[in-house]
């Protein structure tokens, strides 16, 4: 007889809701007639992610005292819950954008999307190395397939394969690192690792440090921070744009939230090492992301490099390892994920209109043809650049404040310089949509598709990104409560 632990079902309700919806959507492929399949899958997926938002908000309210559940393998606390809210909201927006866009394998697409979201919501709560690795694989495998799902599309299959190969390499690094850490401490629980290191004075132990480095590298692959970013532009460009939008927001949120948790919980004694390592990764991401973005003409690639540079900004907050840094990280993720998602969704709209990849050239006149999407893109680009048209401004202010508070004035200067460089390419997008006349060669005649759901999703992203500037106070309070679940 195997002893089964007590299961706190409510703690994993978000995961279960998403997973359940995923199964139902998948069943639709067999049980629902082809004509209704898409409506069914979209409805189930939308309801599933809505349900996820509800349960995770509830969990946030009900988990003021964070603790571990299910044989100490999963954190039920506000850090998990708040991240889950962001993830589920992103998933819902992805469903809305995908609804009009996915033309075949509808059931499979939405089932995989929900499965991947479920994996992420599990990942961010993981309390030991085993759960972390398994849930990482869980959402990654779903994402590999999603990238390649549109195999008629040039580049989609290539994107899937690239992501699979590079992603597996990252996972392998993570697994190897976990093994080394286990070897050093004989524990897999995050909190127990820190305890063992403390009790046996293992701080600085070669095995432990090597393991930590490999875990960090594995997570940096997922958050596409330089120098582990090589796959990002190709995969973001090749994957169906709906999937890119999801990856650029949700995957990063999950990866950063977990990175901060594992570092604070399992490796507080090594803080003098990982703060510097992360600061180095942050600087590398800022330099590489910004410089490479300057010369891009394909908008998806440009946004991919921009996401690498934002990984750098987020890592500035993370690298401080302080409570202020944790709040900065949590706050930054909200407007960032909205802006990243929204901008890719707008690219998806233009892509459908043109029937070919979107470049800065063929964005010309877009702002006048589709006023709402144009204005939204204007907001997102200026928001990314850190101008006060959205929460991106406060996000940058916050992470740079965290860096200064940690005593790293040099990092403030690097961040400021990076922002200045980034201005050039963000302005390039605004220039392209407003300041060049429409190109006749591109015009295909007829009015563009209506796409109500996509407009709703972009509108929601706009509201979140602008709203996070106005409602800084409440959001910071949420972030503070979330961060207080972590040991400082």
């Amino acid at each position: 007889m195997i002893h089964t632990p007590h299961v706190d079902w409510f703690a994993i309700s978000t995961v279960l809701v998403l997973l359940g919806a995923s199964f139902i959507a998948l069943l639709g492929a067999v049980l629902v007639p082809a004509a209704l399949r898409r409506t069914f899958a979209v409805t189930v997926a939308a309801l599933g992610s809505l349900g996820g938002i509800v349960t995770s908000v509830w969990l946030y309210v009900d988990s003021a005292n964070g603790h571990r559940v299910i044989a100490d393998s999963f954190y039920r606390d506000r850090w998990t819950a708040l991240t889950q809210v962001i993830l589920c909201a992103t998933t819902l927006a992805t469903v809305l954008v995908g609804a009009d866009r996915v033309r075949e394998h509808e059931s499979e697409f939405f089932a995989l999307l929900l499965a991947s979201a479920a994996g992420m919501t599990f990942f961010v709560g993981s309390a030991n190395l085993m759960v972390m690795f398994l849930s990482l694989e869980w959402f990654s495998i779903a994402l590999y397939v999603l990238c390649a799902i549109d195999y008629d599309l040039e580049g989609s299959l290539e994107a899937g394969l690239k992501y699979l190969v590079v992603g597996s390499f990252g996972s392998a690094a993570l697994l190897f690192g976990s093994a080394l850490v286990y070897g050093a401490t004989n524990r897999i629980g995050f909190a127990e690792i820190a305890q063992q290191v403390g009790v046996h004075g293992l701080s600085g132990d070669l095995l432990l440090v090597l393991g930590l480095a490999m875990i960090l590298a594995g997570l940096a692959f997922k958050s596409s921070a330089a120098p582990f970013h090589m796959w990002t532009p190709d995969v973001y460009q090749g994957a169906p744009t709906t999937v890119t939008a999801f990856m650029s927001s949700a995957t990063k949120v999950a990866a950063f939230a977990l990175t901060f948790r594992i570092l604070r919980t399992a490796f507080p004694q090594e803080a003098h090492l990982w703060t510097w390592a992360l600061a180095g990764i942050a600087v590398a991401s800022l330099v590489i992301g910004n410089l490479a973005a300057l010369v891009q003409t394909d908008v998806k690639r440009l946004l991919a490099y921009s996401s690498i540079s934002h990984a750098g900004f987020i890592l500035i907050g993370l690298s401080t390892g302080t409570a202020l840094g944790g709040r900065a990280l949590m706050y930054y993720l909200v407007p960032y994920s909205a802006m990243a998602f929204g901008s890719f969704a707008i690219v998806a709209a233009r892509e459908r209109e043109l029937g070919k990849p979107v470049t800065l050239e063929n964005l010309a006149g877009f702002g006048w043809e589709r006023p709402f999407l144009g204005v939204a893109m204007w907001f997102f680009m200026f928001g990314f650049a850190g101008l006060p048209l959205g929460g991106g401004f406060i996000g940058k202010f916050y992470v740079l404040s965290a860096a200064y508070d940690h005593g790293w004035t040099w990092l403030v200067i690097v961040g400021v310089l990076a922002t200045l460089v980034s201005l050039y390419y963000y302005l390039g997008v605004v220039r392209a949509i407003y300041m060049r006349g429409p190109q006749l060669a591109v015009a295909t005649g007829g009015s563009p598709p209506r796409e109500t759901l996509l407009h709703i999703a972009v509108g929601a992203a706009l509201v979140v990104s602008v709203g996070s500037l106005v409602a800084v106070g409440p959001l910071i309070t949420l972030a503070r409560h979330a961060a207080s679940a972590l040991p400082f």
Partner: protein, 484 residues
């Protein structure tokens, strides 16, 4: 409505108006009328505020404060000192004239255009009333967003290059200021401009000063100026030089001088030298400029230099003169750029080689240009003369040669203004001046005459501003003690 909310209304009413214009599918005419109406309501609110303002009281008035980011001690804190009241007044009056001008000439894409103009109004008012460093920074940057699009979409042929230069230059300055704000705010434990104590850090002083020197602009930081002033639509140039550039000199007064008194006196000679260089070099460039807008653009740079000299002279006279000159020059350059726009509409060019002889048969144009021109070259009795005299008197008490350089600037001003007047109005008739080119129409007069009338009032009673900018007429006390 309590009096303190008027300040917030002045910021948010035009921004709400911008949103309404973007959202409501109004016709071209309705959009323009709504924008003009809102800008006039702004002027009305400002008059209300000026009427209630207590000029003998020290400290902040009409203030409002709500926490914004608690854990970093950032708050939404707005309010006005007497000199900010005047700058807000300048903003709303010039913006109303410029929005009216945009309506008069019928800009394309009216909803986008008027929305952006209103957004710019709100952001600019915000700069002059913000009493929290982060809020100030947010408005300071927010001014750039509509400006970028206004120049980039409605500007002249080389607008793309002009916008890029404008943004990169000014953002380079303001991002350095952001770093300085973060360091200063966290070091002293609050971002509030009223509560925060002075600092002696020279690095922070330089961080702030760089941003303001680029915005003003002072001598080596003026690379963005000629392109932007030439390529922007005339009413946007009027705003840029009349109002937005004043944010630079305002920042020196409100932040640099009050929060960094020790570094300010340490670097005084350097800043005075930069101001003098801007004054002389700008005047010489204005004298050499080949077109109407070029003259006014470079003369704005010269005037920014003069205002900076007044501020950094560190004397009561200099401060009073600087505030008066900010307002007077704001009105002068806004009127001149609007007149330049009117001339360009009639002749398609601003180049002196193709203009001339416009006075004949166009009495209104000739009268207005002469009046503004004479005021701007600072004939005794004009508002600009009062401002420049106070500044030079202040500079003289610092050292006689600063006043001498300043006086050179005034002589040069006479040269370039007279050249401008003769190049446009007199001389032989230029090839682009047709008989059909009409005199100023009633609509244009309705926009420019109020600005000129305000200038004439100021000429008659300069003490209205120069004695009512700092409580008790002792700016040094005000700057260094009363609001720290």
């Amino acid at each position: 409505m309590t009096t303190s909310t008027i300040t917030s209304v002045l910021i948010w009413l035009p921004i709400a108006g911008a949103l309404a214009i973007w959202i409501l599918p109004l016709s071209r005419y309705a959009t323009g009328s709504l924008a003009v109406l809102i800008s006039l309501v702004e002027v009305g609110f400002w008059i209300e505020q000026a009427a209630r303002f207590n000029f003998t009281r020290t400290g902040l008035q009409f203030s409002q404060r709500t926490p914004w980011i608690k854990d970093l001690h950032v708050s939404y804190h707005v309010g006005e000192y007497a000199f900010s009241l005047w700058l807000v007044g300048l903003t709303v009056v010039v913006m109303a004239a410029c929005i009216g001008y945009g309506f008069w000439v019928g800009r394309d894409h009216p909803r986008a255009y008027f929305g952006l103009m209103l957004m710019l109004t709100g952001a600019t008012v915000g700069v002059f009333v913000a009493q929290d460093l982060l809020l100030f920074y947010a408005f300071f940057e927010a001014m750039l967003i509509p400006l970028y699009v206004l120049i980039g979409v409605w500007g002249g042929a080389n607008r793309i290059g002009a916008t890029l230069k404008l943004l990169i230059y000014t953002m380079a300055g303001s991002l350095v200021m952001l770093a300085a704000i973060i360091v200063y705010g966290l070091k002293v434990g609050t971002f509030d401009l009223v509560d925060s104590p002075p600092s002696t850090s020279r690095w922070l002083f330089l961080g702030f000063m760089l941003a303001f020197a680029i915005k003003a602009p002072l001598f080596p930081f003026h690379g963005w100026l000629p392109d932007s002033y030439r390529e922007a639509p005339p009413e946007v140039t009027a705003i840029l030089s009349g109002v937005v550039a004043k944010a630079g000199t305002y920042g020196m007064l409100r932040i640099v001088l009050t929060k960094f008194p020790e570094p300010s006196s340490y670097y005084r000679t350097v800043i005075l030298a930069l101001g003098a260089a801007a004054l002389v070099y700008g005047s010489v460039l204005a004298f050499r400029a080949a077109d109407f807008r070029g003259v006014v653009a470079y003369s704005s740079m010269a005037q920014s230099g003069l205002i900076t000299i007044g501020l950094f002279s560190g004397t009561n006279l200099g401060y009073n003169g600087a505030v008066l000159q900010m307002i007077a020059h704001g009105l002068i350059s806004a009127s001149l750029f609007l007149i330049a726009g009117a001339v360009e509409r009639r002749t398609t060019t601003g180049e002196f080689s193709r203009l001339g002889g416009m006075a004949k048969g166009r009495p209104a144009l000739a009268t207005l240009l002469m009046t503004v021109g004479v005021i701007s070259l600072a004939v005794p009795g004009s508002a600009a003369f009062a401002g420049e005299f106070l500044i030079l008197a202040g500079a003289y008490t610092r050292a006689w040669w600063w006043a001498a350089i300043g006086a050179t600037g005034i002589v040069l001003a006479a040269m370039y203004v007279l050249r401008l007047i003769s190049g446009v109005l007199h001389d032989a008739r230029g090839p682009m001046v047709q008989d059909q080119a009409l005199d100023l129409r009633a609509g244009e007069l309705a926009l420019i005459v109020p600005l000129v009338a305000a200038l004439l009032v100021l000429s008659a009673w300069p003490a209205g501003i120069s004695h009512h900018s700092f409580a008790g007429d002792r700016p040094l006390n005000a700057v260094y003690e009363q609001f720290r």
